[in-house]
Structures are given as C-alpha cells and as structure tokens.
Amino acid sequence: LRVPSHPLDVLCQQLLGMAAQHPWSADEALTLVRRAYPYRDLSRGDFDGCLDYLSGRHREKHTWLPARLRWDDDEFTILDARTTRLLRRNIGTILAEEPRQVRLRNEEGGTMNDESRSSFRLIGEVDESFAERLQPGDRFLLAGRCLEFRHSEYSTLLVDEVIGKPAVPRWRGDGLPLAPELARRLYLLRIQAAEALREGPSVLADLLHRDYGLHGQALTELVTYFQRQECASEIPDAATCLVEVVNHERGTEYYVHTPLNRAGNDALARVATLRVARSHGHTVTSLVADLGFALLFSKATDIHADRWREILALDTFEADLCHALAESVTLRERFQCVAMTGLMLLRNPLGRRRRVGGPNWAERRLFEHVRAAAPEFMLLLQALREVREECCDADAARAFLIELPRLVLRCRRLPRVSPFVESWTQLAAGPVESVESPAEALQRLHAALTGSADIAGAHAR
C-alpha cells in the first residue's frame, strides 16, 4: 500500500469544501493543507495551480474556465449557491462508470427512436463494462428476469424476456502486479532452479522441498514446469537476456524475459514500440506482464540481437518514454479520471446529462482541448504523474537497461510460446505504435472481415 503524494485533483475538492465553509487566505489554506500527511511536501506552485484552476484562471492569468471560487481582496470563498449545490452533488473520489439502461422490447420487436422510447419498458441498469461484453443472444439475470440481449441503441440495451437459464455474471478484476522485489526474487528462483536442474530433477525437487517447503503435487508440477521450459527453450541465467521469437502466418512475436514487474515492463514496452515503429516503420502492438513483455508484429520480421540492443538502448530512454506517454491512451484515460475527481467534469451535472459525447468524451476531446490551451495544466500533470507512478516504473526499467550491455542477449526461435510465457501473470495489452494511415487500417479491417489476404492495390483509389 502506498500513500499518494499530494494528489492535486483531491486537493481541488478539498479547497472547494473549505471555501464553502468560510473565506480563506491562500496562506492560511496552504498551512492547513500541509498538515495532512499526503500534502506535507506540497509546493506553493502546485497549490497556486489548484487555486488558479478553481478561479478559472490560466497560468498566464487570463480566464479560460468557469470559476468556482471568488476572491475578495486576498481571501477566496465559494462562488455562489449554485456552485455549493454542484459540490454537494459531486463530492467524492470513488469513480464509477455511468450505468447503461436496460429496456424490454415490445412484442412487435422493432427499433427504438425518441418517439417510441416510452414503449420500451425500463427495467433496470447494468454497468458499462458488463454491457460492453454482451453479444447478441447472451442471457443475463436482472430484476428477477432472464433477459436475452438483442442489440443496443443510443447507449440503451434492448432485451427480450426469455425462459431459460441466464449465464452467471462474471467480472474480470485487475489483480495487483508483483512488487518489484518479488519479481526479482522470482527471476532469481528460476536461475537457481535451472542450476539445480542441470544436476537432475531430483536435485531441483530437493531444493524446492528444503527451501520452499513444497511437496506432493505442487512439487511435481513445478519441477515439470521448469523441465518443460528447458526443453522448449531455456531458463535465462543471471548473465543472459532471453528473447523468444515465434513466427506465425499472421506475423512475428518477440517475447522478452526480464526480472521486472509489469510496471517496469510497461516502461520498456512503451519505449521499444516507439523505437521500432520509428526506425522500422512497422506497426507494432505489445503485451506487458510480470517478468516480461512482448512485441507483436503483423508481418514477418527478423530482429536480431544487435538490433535488440539498439531498441533497448539507454540513450534517450527518458525522452522516448516521455514522448510515448504523452501520446498514450493510458494518459488520456487517467486524465478523464483526474478531471472527474478534480470536478472539471461532473458525475451529476445540473440539468440534462450531455450524452452526445459518450462516456469517453474527456479522453477523446477534452484532453485535446486542454492540452492545446494549457499544456502545463495541473490536472494534466497530475494525470501524467499518476501514470508514471502507478502504471509505468521508469526507474526499474532504466536500471535494467543500464545492466543490459553486460548481459548476453540471445534470440531463440521457437515453434510456439514457451511455458514461461504461457504462465506470465497480470498480462495486459500494452502500448501500440501505428504507422498506418486510417485508410490502411480500414484495409486491414476489410481483410479481416472477408478473410482476404489480397488487399494490395485496393487502397490505390
């Protein structure tokens, strides 16, 4: 567990709450705020940035946002009763997705438009993430009814009531990634296991029993697991960085084994995808996990060990990581969360909710508007800081890259993914670098839909 360091979005809510109570001078408020442990090191600049934002002021002192505070001489207080009402309706830092309405179709079926919406009976709501996974024909239980999903219109799920068994709802949780030290210890255990295995499976079994208290089926499974990895590929030792290469008809996949947890591998994958796209002109997707990351190419490629050293070079690592993060979906998603907590966006706005922009409007549009108008805006910087602290461990990645020149970098071609890769934990889609134009992407979509490999020339027109 980690106490977040001076979260500025939360501070904005706090300052508004304080301003609703009585007028404050900036100095008084800063003194009080710094008494809270997470804000003990809060800089005056960050604090003033929050007050500027809440006062609608740009860093260059012109007005660019609606103000929530008003100033009388050197004291600030909440702007008006309407702002107090907004604060009461939206205070809190637990962010929930906007639910999706579920409506029962009428007997004639058909579609829903604004006129006929009332004839589709509202029977409840489900989470956005649950709704996203539903395919036509899927059944689920809501309000004591077994419902079959037909399709969605205007963010509403249209369903039929059916007789039968609904599927048991399931949600995929985001488990916590390994701590950096635990990842390193697991990597060392593998090395230790490889050394023991060279003297025979029984020696490895003795080691696992003696040092880790394993026995029975768990012991057998683990010994077999290490043996399978040695047979299929190798267990990298302390002096080796292993890259496993698997060729498919749909392209080439590279699996890089590291002693890092997911956050460390995330930083490596971001820089690697950026560099590969930049220098090779390939569109590349990635996977990140504890103890490794993968680069996936949609066409056959041959990246040898020397080229890998260039891709994983320490030079310009920080600059490349900054560039990759600035353009990342992760940053946009985090900005939306920060903007919500910082009350830039409201969960419960006044009047009708604006649905045209959809649930990710802030990621797509607000992010662009804010970045263009105020690249140093404190909620943008807060989002970037959170991404760097929580998703992307640049320090661990840098330490690995410093060590890498001393390691043997071995590329090993395999017919299929190795047991180590099969057992990667906390596997998640990583960054993507695309060098294709929108038209080329659509070509690819068409090829996937029609199963046609012959798309060359289709773009000519």
Binding site: D114, L350, G358, Q443, H446, H459
Partner: protein, 222 residues
Amino acid sequence: MRVNKDWLLTPQRAAIHLPTATAVIADLHLGYNEARRQAGEAVPQVELDEVIAALGSLLAVYEPQRLVIAGDLFEDGRCTTLAEAFLDWLRQAGPELLGIVPGNHDRGLKRSDSRLPIHSGGFSVGDWRVVHGDAKLPRQPVIQGHCHPRLRWGSRIAAPCFLIAARHIILPAFSTDAAGANVFRNPQWRSYRCWRHCRRRSARFRNGRCSPETTECVVSSS
C-alpha cells in the same frame, strides 16, 4: 464515393446531391462545450472556426453551392449568439443555406433566430427528403442524421461511417464531439450496405464476416 446515382459521399462527413450541388450535413452539435459549461462543468470554450473546420474544407474541395442541415445544428437550440456567428461564417464562406431541419437538440431554435431557414417537416432535395430521423420516416427516399453511425472494430479502429440502402442514407455526425453508435454486428443495420473509400470491395456484416454481394457503408477516413 458516389452512391444511389446522385449522391457523392465525402470524407468531411457530408453527402452532396450532385444534380443540385447541394451538400447535406447533420448533427453539428455546435456549442457542445458551452452546454457542458451551462451544466456546471469546467471545460474550455472552443472557437466556432475550429468546430466547423471540416465544413470549410468541404466547401473548398467540392464547392457545393447550397447547404442543408439535417438536424441537431446546435447542442442546445437556445444559443442565439452561436446561431448568429454560424450565419456570419456561412455568409463569408459562400454557400446558400437552403434549410435547417430541426433535430431533437434544436428545440427552441425557431424562437431564437428567425433568420434561420427552419423547415420543421423536412426539406426536399431532388427526389429525396432530408429529415433528422427522430420521428417516423416519410415514404419517399430519405437522407437523415440522428443515429451517429460509427464503425468500431476492436479497440484501434473507430471511424464515423455512412449507412446506405437503396432509398435511405444515414449521415455520420458532423461533430467530432459525437461518440457515435457502433454499427458493426448490429442486426439493425444488416440490410444496409457498406462502402469504403476504395470502391472495389464491398461487404455486408454478418457474424463478423462479409459477403460480397451486398454492402454500402462508406467509412470516413477523416
């Protein structure tokens, strides 16, 4: 991309009726940020020029003489200053604004500015009827907005698109603020055809596969 004999579909999300040189666009949702500000959100204002930059590009490239708006010109029909600014912009840009068919977001539009050529029951362009699409459709061939069709495939491809049938064209939302509704694998649009910019290939979505005999959904690359 030319469809249904007389219509040219453009990457700027407009359909141009070639015999009358009339461009039809829908769902501009001008004043979207302002509406969010009115609801209490602290979002920046966006200049009108920026919002309708694609319209400027449409006029420069295809030079339509006339313009019809198939509804939802504004996010909130009560913004009078925005209506005035839009009219000024059009006056300078050149095309004649033939008609505005009010959409469900344009309630109150008529009251706000009488200089706007409002046609509540729809507007005819050649044999086609321009409507917004939030009410029962007329019998004649229809071009409409309202649905904001978007083709989304996986997490990496999401593009506004046109949906086309023999007597029916659905325009993508002109507004880049609009999220759009995914038409991929949506049975509602199964009888509609799908075109892309490269005309050679066409496909109908069925269980994620395409059969080449149908198609018509032009995917905008802008």
